[in-house]
Amino acid sequence: MLGRIERSIDELYRDDAERADAVAFGRETGASRRGFLGGAGLAAMSAAVGGAIPFVANMPGGLIPAALAQSAPPAQAPAAAPKGPQYLKFPGKSDKLVVLGDKPLVAETPEHLLDDATTPTDKLFVRNNGQIPDEAKDPDKWKITIDGEVNNKLELTLGELKSKYKAITRRLVLECGGNGRSFFTPQARGNQWTNGGAGCSEWTGVRLADLLKAAGVKPSAVFSGHYGADPHLSGDASKPSISRGVPIKKLMDENNLVVWALNGQPLPHIHGGPVRLLIPGWPGSVSNKWLTRIWLRDKVHDGPGMGQFSYRVAIKPMVPGDKPDEKNFRDLESMPVRSIITSPANGAKLPAGTKDVKLRGAAWAGDNTVKQVDVSTDFGATWTRATVEGPKNKYDWQRWTASVRLPSDGYFEIWTRGTDSKGTMQPHLAGFWNPQGYGGNPMHRVAVLVG
C-alpha cells in the first residue's frame, strides 16, 4: 500500500523545493506528519483507480476529490523494518510463498510446499524481470512473431496456434537460473533464492519445433532471441525488460513449448499468459512470459540478460568475491542436479520416541535425469538410498521417498543428495563461485527436533 505521504505538495515546495522533489518523486516518508491523503482516503482512491497511485503527492489539490481530502490521522511512529519472511498477497497465489522483492515481483516456494506431485498453480514461484504488463483484453488475438533467419516469417495469433497446430501437455520443471543463490559464500548478487525458484506443473501448448518447421529455419540461424511484452522497470518503452536466447540446437528440442495453459486452465497473467515460452532444463529466463517474438539470429544474441555476468559462470574457477574478468565467463546452460525434501518441513517437531521418519521429496537435473537420491541423518557420515520414481516425460521432475531410522530423541538434520544420469552429485557447498551466483546446488537439509 501507498501511505504516509507527509504533507501537501504546496507546503513541501514552500519549505524546501529540492526536498519536495524527492518527496514527490520518491514518496519519501516521515514520522511526524502524515496528513495528505494518508490512511483511508488514499485506500479509497486507490480502490477507485484499481491500483496504486504512485505519484499521488504530485496531484494539485484542485484535482483531489473533496471527499478524499480528509484531515490528518494521528501521528504514528514509523513502522519498523519487517522481520522474518514477507508472505505473498496476490490474487490466485498461495499466501505462503515468500516474497524476495515487490518491484519487480519475485516470490519463491518454500521446499515443503513443493510436496505435490504436480505443482499447483497457486504454489508455483513468481519471477519477473520487468513490470507486469497490462492484461490482454482478447487473449485469442495475442500475436507472436517468428522471424529473422527463416524462410517464412510467421505471425500467429493464439487462436491460430490452437487451431492450426497439435496441442500437447507435458509436466515440466520451470526453474529460475539463480535458484540456490543464497547458499554462496561470499554472498552473490541478486535475489537470494533458497531452493524455491522451481516448480513442476502441467503445461499445454504447441511444440516450438512445429512452428520452426513451418517457418523454415535457414542454415544461417545459430541462436535465438526471445521477447515478451513486460515493460522495462525503468519505464523505457524502447528497452526490453529481458531478452535472452539459446543456441539453435537447444531451440529445436522437441520438448520446448509455446504455452497457453497451466494445469488445465488458461495460463494466468502472472505466469505470462496468455502465451509464454517454455524451454525446460535451462534457466527460466530464456522462457519469456507474455511472449511476443522469437528472433532467429546469425550470431549469439545480445539482448538484455546476455553477456557479461548475467546467467553466466566462470570458465576458469575464480577466487570467491574477486573482481571477475568478463572474458572468463560462459553462459549457464543446463541447470544442475537438485534434490529437495518436501516432507517433513524444516523445523518440524516430532513426538518423543519417534524412531522411523518417512521422507518425501523431488529431484531434477536440467537436461539430464536423476539416477539416484540418497539421504543422511548424520551429516553425511552414512547414507540411505531413496526410491526414485521415473519421470512422466522428459524434463519432468522425479518424486522420491525414503524411510530413515533415528537412534534417539534430539536434534537431527536430514540431508538429501541427488545424482544425475551423468553421475554428477550435489556438493556439500555451493561451489564455483561467480558474481551473480549461478549453479548453486548444495544438498538440501531440513532440521527436525524429536521430543
Binding site: 522533489d21 514520522a31 496476490f90 490474487p91 540456490g180
Partner: protein
C-alpha cells in the same frame, strides 16, 4: 540532491500517464482484483537502517526497483561500485558520479557489507 532531479523528466512523463489513469479510474467503480492491479508494497527510506546517504541511496535505486532487493545484498565497496556501473550500463540507471556516487557508495558499503550467507538457518535457534 542534483542527482534526484535527473529523474524528473522521466518521472513527469510517467505521472502524466498516472493522471490519465486516475481520471478514467475515478469515473468507473472499482473492478475485481486482478493481476495487473498488484500494488508493490510501499517502501520509504525509514524502513532501512539510518546512516549518512540513506535517502540518496534509496532514491537512486528505487527509481526502478524496490530497495528490498538492495537490502538483500552484502557486498564490499568494489562490488557495490561494480553494481552501480552494471545498473548504468545494462539497466538504464542514470549515471551516478562524483559526490553523489560517493554518498551512495558510503551508505551501501557501511550498511550492506559482506556477511554470513542467509541460505540455511537453524529453525530452532531462536525458539
Amino acid at each position: 540532491m542534483r542527482y534526484l532531479q535527473k529523474f524528473a523528466a522521466v518521472r513527469f512523463a510517467r505521472r502524466l500517464v498516472v493522471f490519465g489513469i486516475l481520471t478514467i479510474g475515478l469515473a468507473l467503480s472499482a473492478g475485481p482484483a486482478s493481476a495487473q492491479q498488484f500494488t508493490p508494497r510501499d517502501e520509504s527510506p525509514e524502513d532501512y537502517p539510518a546512516g549518512a546517504g540513506r535517502d540518496d541511496a534509496f532514491y537512486a535505486c528505487t527509481a526502478c526497483h524496490g530497495f528490498k532487493l538492495v537490502a538483500q545484498q552484502g557486498q564490499n565497496r568494489r562490488q557495490w561500485d561494480d553494481t552501480i556501473n552494471w545498473m548504468a550500463e545494462k539497466h538504464n540507471m542514470p549515471k551516478l558520479e562524483g559526490k553523489d556516487r560517493e554518498t551512495v557508495l558510503n551508505y551501501l558499503e557501511a550498511t550492506y557489507p559482506p556477511r554470513a550467507p542467509g541460505g540455511w538457518q537453524n529453525p530452532f535457534l531462536n525458539r
